[in-house]
């Protein structure tokens, strides 16, 4: 029965949920589920998992742009049909993984991937820069201060050698969010790229009462900068510009308070976050660079600053040390000295529990 637009509720299926996970497991995954004994990385991007049963599965991990066309997915399917019995998976960082159950199938698979231009770069394992978790940017979102896909492409091009190698002290997780909502992993990444505004919203007084629920707008402000205000005959709001720090949350609630600005908007860089519990507990990312202008299409200043941070870390950190662990060991004063980044007023916290971040000791380095 095809869909009948004249009888929209006919045959409607709801609440069926996703297909059960094991419906799409390759047979060797089903057979060895929960029986894995150990794994090894054979070369960057290539893993082997060995089961208690003696079975082996070889995984080839390839980079992907996350934003992908049906044509690219079909090409991924062609590869999976040809080499992997028609099975494929995606990772939590949006890389693609092809799996085979025998070592003899590995080389043909990798040769095939390498023969298809630069669509399927092999890597993203071990102490590498793997894929950048990112957001919608100017491709689909209404609140961004920056693009996502373009910046990710520019950064990955520059750091490409680190994707297909294990040269770093530990894995480096880079992420991007195009506004303070921080969809994804920006608040907990080794290096994070965040879109920021620097100008208060424009208030379209004649629109506010028609398109917004004013109490929601007032409640949306973390710094209580918004008050109700009558402007002529219009019920509107007033924004105390000295209290506004341009988070954009009021615009999320009210379309009559736009704040995007080509000249004002740009990028803040954050460092030192992690989510794993390995050695040290999870950490938030902390501010490294308050502002870099948007420079489409290649964002050279952002890209070079990230590269500088990454390479300073790579040359100075000890094995297994994540970026945050390295900074905790050497101290922030050394971090700024070694990276050559400028320390500014913006780095000093001034929100709520700010004092917990100030230095309450005479222990520091000159």
């Amino acid at each position: 029965m095809p869909f009948d637009p004249t009888d929209i509720m006919k045959d409607r299926l709801t609440d069926i949920g996703p297909p059960k996970y094991d419906k799409f497991f390759p047979p060797f995954i089903k057979d060895n589920y929960g029986k894995w004994k150990y794994h090894e990385i054979l070369e960057p991007g290539v893993l082997v998992h060995v089961s208690e049963t003696g079975a082996e599965v070889y995984t080839v991990r390839v980079g992907a742009a996350r934003l992908m066309s049906v044509d690219l997915i079909r090409e991924i399917c062609d590869i999976a049909d040809k080499h992997c019995g028609g099975y494929v998976r995606w990772t939590t960082r949006n890389n693609v993984e092809f799996m085979v159950d025998d070592k003899s199938k590995l080389k043909p698979l990798m040769d095939d991937l390498k023969s298809r231009g630069n669509w399927f770069p092999i890597g993203g394992t071990g102490a590498s820069v793997t894929n950048i978790v990112h957001t919608q940017g100017w491709v689909h979102c209404h609140t961004p201060a920056i693009d996502a896909s373009g910046i990710v492409k520019a950064v990955m091009d520059e750091l490409f050698e680190y994707f297909g190698s294990h040269k770093l002290p530990a894995q480096v997780r880079i992420s991007l969010a195009c506004c303070l909502n921080m969809c994804g992993a920006v608040h907990c990444s080794d290096i994070a790229i965040l879109g920021v505004h620097r100008k208060p919203p424009i208030i379209e007084h004649e629109r506010v009462q028609n398109v917004c629920e004013i109490p929601l707008v007032i409640a949306a402000c973390p710094t209580a900068a918004i008050k109700p205000k009558k402007v002529g005959d219009y019920k509107s709001v007033e924004i105390n510009e000295n209290r506004c720090m341009f988070c954009g949350n009021c615009y999320t609630m009210c379309p009559a308070l736009p704040l995007a600005d080509g000249e004002g908007d740009g990028i803040a860089l954050w460092v030192g976050g992690k989510v794993s519990n390995s050695r040290v507990p999870p950490m938030f990312s902390k501010l490294a660079v308050p502002y870099i202008p948007n420079e489409p299409p290649r964002w050279p200043t952002t890209v070079q600053t990230i590269k500088k941070i990454l390479e300073t870390y790579a040359s100075d950190a000890r094995r297994y040390e994540r970026v945050g662990e390295w900074i905790e060991r050497i101290g922030w004063e050394r971090f700024f000295e070694k990276t050559g980044l400028e320390f500014r007023h913006e780095h000093i916290d001034d929100y709520r529990l700010a004092m917990t971040t100030w230095r309450t000791t005479t222990q520091f380095k000159f």
């Binding site: 069926i16 992908m68 689909h140 209404h142 492409k153 736009p258 948007n294």
Partner: protein
């Protein structure tokens, strides 16, 4: 065939070694006017350094209150084919294994009814179908459910699509059936997922071990992280093989060439509780002092394995900065057995939701409500006793609340009798 809009800036992003989203979109744009106009619109955003999508957009399918993100461009005069550019969130199979058969069918449906562009995948886990018009939402939904057995994911003030790590499907460290837990939550709470009924969004994520490959502790209001209560399993022979240089440390993460593991420097000295000793022959672990950080297991996967008395640590409250600042999830239940039918976990979830739905303000995440009313109130609501494992440190201010019932004589006092003892 030349495309309709000149895109000099986007063309720059066709260069370089990383897969180009521009080149990818262009090949579809040759037959899809929607993609052609998308490229034009994004090029204009690159020129203006400002996005060109209108605020919000409320669209969906009958019977559901979420799953579709409505989007309209703000220059339909220039780019009519992206006047509507809605996104559909499709609930992915847990841990994102697919057959090519289902992916091909999905591609065919999406090419017919939408832009032919996707995100594989959204940050929460959904398979994102990127860009279609309002009139196509119902036909796509009908075909997803009838032809593929697939359903929409979550959006809005509801339970969002749960997701887990690869778990036992392909990892030796997983202490949980992450896929099964995620599938169970997703199916049991379909109503909460499809029909927004909460003060704000609510996310579940499950990682099989404390490495937390799905970032549950940072990205879920309720984080389920696998752990164990017994001893780390040691194969002393394999430990010696690492030290002797026959096995590659860290599974090859730091280079796959063979080298001798400096076990003192790379494992013993980096253990956060210093609960290990190497006497040159055997590795000893004082498991009662181990905090299960995974480091030694990560470095020597062939020698060390998690214990066998496994379960989950349940943590709550993670969120991004808006409104009160970013939070990581905090320990609520140090250990819970996680086996089907997961009744103990369901009871916990439902008590948690009852409390949050009753007390949560509009757009207040669980983590913020716990901050506002206090962890004590939350623990009472979910009927969990306080436990030192819930804190990094006890409080360092003396502003302690007491219940009058817990204080001898209560709070009803008489000034007259006070003044009989103390003349004013």
């Amino acid at each position: 065939m030349a495309l309709k809009h000149a895109t000099p800036m986007l063309d720059e992003l066709e260069k370089g070694p990383w897969p180009s989203f521009v080149t990818d979109i262009k090949r579809v744009a040759a037959r899809k006017p929607m993609c052609e106009d998308l490229l034009g619109l994004v090029e204009m955003s690159y020129e203006h350094k400002e996005g060109h999508w209108k605020h919000g957009g409320i669209v969906g399918v009958f019977g559901y209150g979420g799953g579709v993100i409505g989007r309209y461009c703000d220059r339909p005069d220039l780019f009519p084919n992206v006047a509507h550019f809605h996104t559909m969130r499709v609930n992915q199979p847990a841990s994102k294994f697919y057959t090519t058969e289902v992916l091909r069918k999905l591609c065919d449906i999406w090419e017919e009814h939408g832009s032919g562009l996707t995100n594989m995948h959204g940050s929460t886990g959904d398979l994102i179908l990127l860009g279609t018009t309002t009139d196509q939402l119902e036909p796509v939904f009908y075909r997803l459910t009838h032809e593929l057995g697939m359903d929409l994911g979550g959006s809005g003030s509801n339970m969002r699509t749960p997701e887990g790590c690869v778990g036992k499907a392909r990892c030796e460290w997983s202490c949980l059936d992450t896929q099964d837990i995620i599938y169970d939550i997703t199916m049991r709470y379909q109503d909460e997922l499809h029909r927004p009924m909460f003060p704000y969004k609510f996310k579940f994520k499950a990682s099989g071990c404390p490495n937390d490959c799905v970032a549950a502790i940072a990205r879920a209001d309720c984080s389920i992280i696998g752990t164990w209560r017994d001893k780390i399993r040691i194969d002393q022979e394999a430990v010696r093989a690492y030290v002797g240089g026959e096995l590659v440390p860290n599974g090859g993460s730091h280079g796959v060439e063979k080298r001798k593991l400096d076990i003192q420097k790379e494992v013993i000295d980096l253990c956060p509780t210093r609960c290990m000793e190497w006497d040159g022959k055997n590795l000893k672990i004082w498991d009662e002092d181990c905090t299960r950080c995974m480091h030694c297991i990560n470095v020597m996967p062939r020698a060390l394995r998690p214990g066998t008395d496994v379960g989950a640590t349940i943590l709550c409250g993670a969120k991004a900065p808006i409104l009160e600042g970013a939070q990581l999830s905090s320990v609520i239940i140090p250990f819970m057995k996680m086996e089907p039918p997961y009744e103990e976990f369901h009871e916990f979830v439902e008590k948690m939701w009852d409390w949050w739905m009753e007390h949560g303000k509009n757009r207040e995440r669980l983590g913020e409500l716990i901050q506002r009313l206090g962890l004590r109130e939350f623990l009472k609501a979910v009927e969990v006793q306080p436990d030192p494992r819930m804190v990094n440190t006890t409080r360092y201010n003396p502003y302690i609340f007491y219940d009058p019932a817990d204080v001898p004589g209560g709070w009803e006092r008489d000034a007259k009798s006070f003044r009989e003892r103390h003349h004013a």
